[in-house]
Symmetry: D3
Subunit: 224 residues, 6 copies
């Protein structure tokens, strides 16, 4: 029932992580074969942030944020805190004091399958959070959880050190070992998208650009 | 099970459509007898847009956006795409490439009882979307649906060519044949509202302005 | 089944109310022993508002906003309208006309466990609303409810005259009789938070600042 | 805003209706091209009922069951009451007294996109109901709605006189004009299913019975 | 933040409580003016139970069932445990061991705005539970709550010693001081219902029995 | 994007699996440190089933059940099918024909984070299913998924060959490698529970049996 802190985790290279941030969630998700998305109910507390970082994971009991303090010590610059409660909970595990502490250690943001509070302060600090709820409900510090263990967060399996990418579209996890290849695929996809966008903007239809008409006819589509 | 594209649909006049856009959802909904609202879970991806247009409807299988490409060919300037999945789904059927193509054909926006992605790009393009979810989940192009057939979208029955009005309050459908009369009623209502607003702003109570006191007393309201 | 309007309710002092507004929801909630939060599904229609005021409560039937008109007459400057339907409902009980009337009487905002409409107008008027839904659905004026009676709103028990505090974190109710003591506790907490924030910003860990290491070890936390 | 009762509606033949009841929801839904299902949140109040009947539709305001009384007069033996509130509501519009009255007129059951109460009595009476909620919340009789007008109920468009089929799988609507053809397709499907069931029960795989292996290989399925 | 156990609470008389149980939730709710219902998401773990008893209330932290043990000591024969978590939670606070202990003290059942487990055992023991979820998730015993304090449970305010009535329709709370009068009103209502039921069963319409036709005509109902 | 079938997976021993079934979900979940529960929204289609088996996992696109046919070939006697859609979906992937085929291969049941249909037939066949929805919505067979790959199902990470335990309390996954140890812990717990149950049934309080009084006093619990 918890009680473990893994201190040394492997991380992807900073270049790869930053590259994934620039690509964004939708592109990265496509580039790794349409896998890795966290549930759509995770929403950013303010629009416009686009980040990536290495996951420092927290498995926490419902309504108990003790392990957040423990996890902050494990943060390195460029990391992202990712918290999964052991059962569904929307309490406000995290607010401006914890954000101040995390930001002092170079943390880029928080992904939490629960609640967050002090959101006006967090927006002013430019500390981005993707959460299930905005809820001021306080938590206690009475029961152990674990830090840097595998978790399931908002429906996605996350290992400590995996790369988390988050923007206005939501949150995606990239397995650490696959990060470099996914970045390559994402960049290729992006290059490709620029040309497609220009073609479509000129009025060419996707039906023609993707040569879909023949297959639609074969499948039996009828124009009436 | 789908497979039909209706190519020629009737549309309301541009003047009526634009008039309805200016009135907005709440007024139009009242003007047509409190009918036609789509469910409140459809939310705009960014605030401030207020549009109206003729519905080009899409009935699409869950997780399959093939028919969006087919529908874009059917768009005329001033139209709005409206997608209803054949069963509940929140996948991201639509992103910036499709928006680029739709916008190139004069499309004013998208109403989708499912998910959308690339929302930062869509906001920058000023392509408004009202959706059930923001979700980067990719879709396939394997199964036929239909275009310009009657659908039920977010709880409202929509015929192709009906007028869709959408703003920060949500989305409302006006049957094409009723659009002119609804606009007239909406404009009358608006004129009326200006006077009411001024009266209320001056401190006159609704109780007096609407002469409610007598009926409240008859019903038995007690002041203690 | 309703039908009562209580005309004279006690209110907390304006200084206490305004002090609570400055402290904000999260601090006030902590200061009164982590009680009084309304459910997290109540969300502000626009970001940035932070208000407090005395609750003028409304118990209204589903889809019937007659009592809102009755309640507006009971408003005094600095009050907040708080509406709880007698069964779950998301209809748009309130829009710009009612807001104009309420604002003319000095009302600071609305908390409603139901829907609201005309939200663009309300934002322009700077009339803040915390609601369960944004929904243009119209209501009728056919059935009595009550004004200034005890209600349960979004999971919290509210007495007329209680202090409502609302900001981007949500909504909290402070019992009128406790308001002064809660303000004192909140101010003490705030003073305390400034020092904590500075310490954490300097890089000191919460583990050390709160002296948690010993207790974590006692509980059996293992670093591996 | 309501206020209409259509007295003479067309119905499908009793033989067709009873045939559809015997086929059940899943088969009928498939037989009409996978259309017509009401949302899965409509659940039977007790298991085992399987009925079909002609829809007598009710459009009712939230929390107001006046029109149920009006609709009961329009019932003929073999009919099914189908109620759609004009906005989302889970109040208990219907209980044992109304069921007694409806049953006295030959009504086979109720489909309601809202709540029902007295469910123990209804089960004892063998009056089946498919509802969104079981909720004792009372309703009023103050505002008109309509009877036998087109409605959208739990996401499906229903015309008065359409055939409603309901069983433990949920509820399906069959357009009156299509009922005979759908029954023929459903019966063909059922005949077909008996043979398939026997084959599968003998251990033959669907992969072989449906000859799927070649297409799976073409699509690139890899066995490892 | 909790930490109180009130040991002596007043209860309604056993005769009144048992009378309310016989009337059932829907009748009692009507008899007290359509107030007091708990939310419809509270469902019985097995059908057919109909109980009433005095509420021994528990305010418990999320995921912590320590106070259930404390509350059981406060039970007297005929009581009902009623648990409200301090923030939304669906953990399984209660299972067959606690039920054994509660039943040994004469407890009639549990109403819990959270989860329950061991439901097969509970059904065999005939220990009825109305809960928000069935969920085996374990809880801890680390944080204090309170027993026999006022709570809001599933949207209804409950005082310790209030009468709880629960059956297949859900759960209703009757304020202790009103219990006798509510019982009288409920019995009157029941007597009345028998006659109405017989009349309706004979085929007389509610429209005639309740003399609704004139008022419907006045309101403008049109038969077409 | 799918397209893999792993043919040889390791399974726990039949004795261990059957032992876990006898212990049931709540006990197994406790015995492995309160981990492994699937979300509470997975409910059995009929009460009373209690099974365990080795997971044959299916990752399937929304609305496409092609892979179920592929997975059935991989079943061995004693297995359980476990399906996770690649994005949220409640379509009816599975009905009586597939159950007939699965049962012919010795399959003990289905756990599906989506919908199921033909539930009356499935109950008669005694083929238990734990599902998110009962929904007759048909699916297609157009897009590949994978069989016997790791999945996240209803919030829990499942490897092919893990032991699935399911009963009226829900569903729990036990990692294959831990199954023997978890069974031992579960049996120890059960033995222990028998004694506890007898003690509690005799009227001894948990407060005394677990010796909680001293710690409660230390924490500051006050009896008033």
């Amino acid at each position: 029932m918890g009680g473990i802190v893994v201190q040394n985790i492997d991380r992807a290279s900073a270049e790869v992580i930053d590259g994934l941030a620039r690509c964004g969630v939708a592109t990265v998700h496509e580039a790794q074969g349409r896998t890795g998305l966290l549930a759509s109910y995770l929403r950013p507390i303010y629009p416009g942030a686009r980040i990536a970082g290495s996951a420092v994971t927290i498995s926490a009991p419902p309504g108990d944020n003790w392990m957040v303090h423990v996890a902050i010590e494990q943060l390195r610059p460029g990391d992202i805190l990712l918290l999964a409660p052991t059962s569904p909970c929307e309490d406000g595990y995290f607010g401006d004091l914890l954000a101040t502490s995390a930001q002092a250690r170079g943390c880029r943001g928080l992904v939490i399958d629960a609640g967050v509070r002090d959101v006006r302060d967090l927006a002013e600090m430019q500390f981005p959070v993707w959460s299930k709820a905005i809820f001021a409900q306080g938590t206690v510090k009475n029961t152990l959880g674990s830090v840097n263990v595998p978790v399931v967060c908002a429906g996605a399996a996350v290992q400590p050190g995996d790369v988390i990418v988050a923007d206005d579209d939501g949150v995606c996890v990239v397995p650490r070992g696959a990060a470099e290849a996914v970045l390559a695929a994402a960049l290729a996809r992006e290059a490709n998208e620029g040309a497609k966008r220009a073609t479509l903007a000129s009025g060419v239809l996707g039906l023609d650009m993707y040569k879909m008409r023949e297959r639609l006819e074969q499948e039996g589509l009828k124009y009436v």
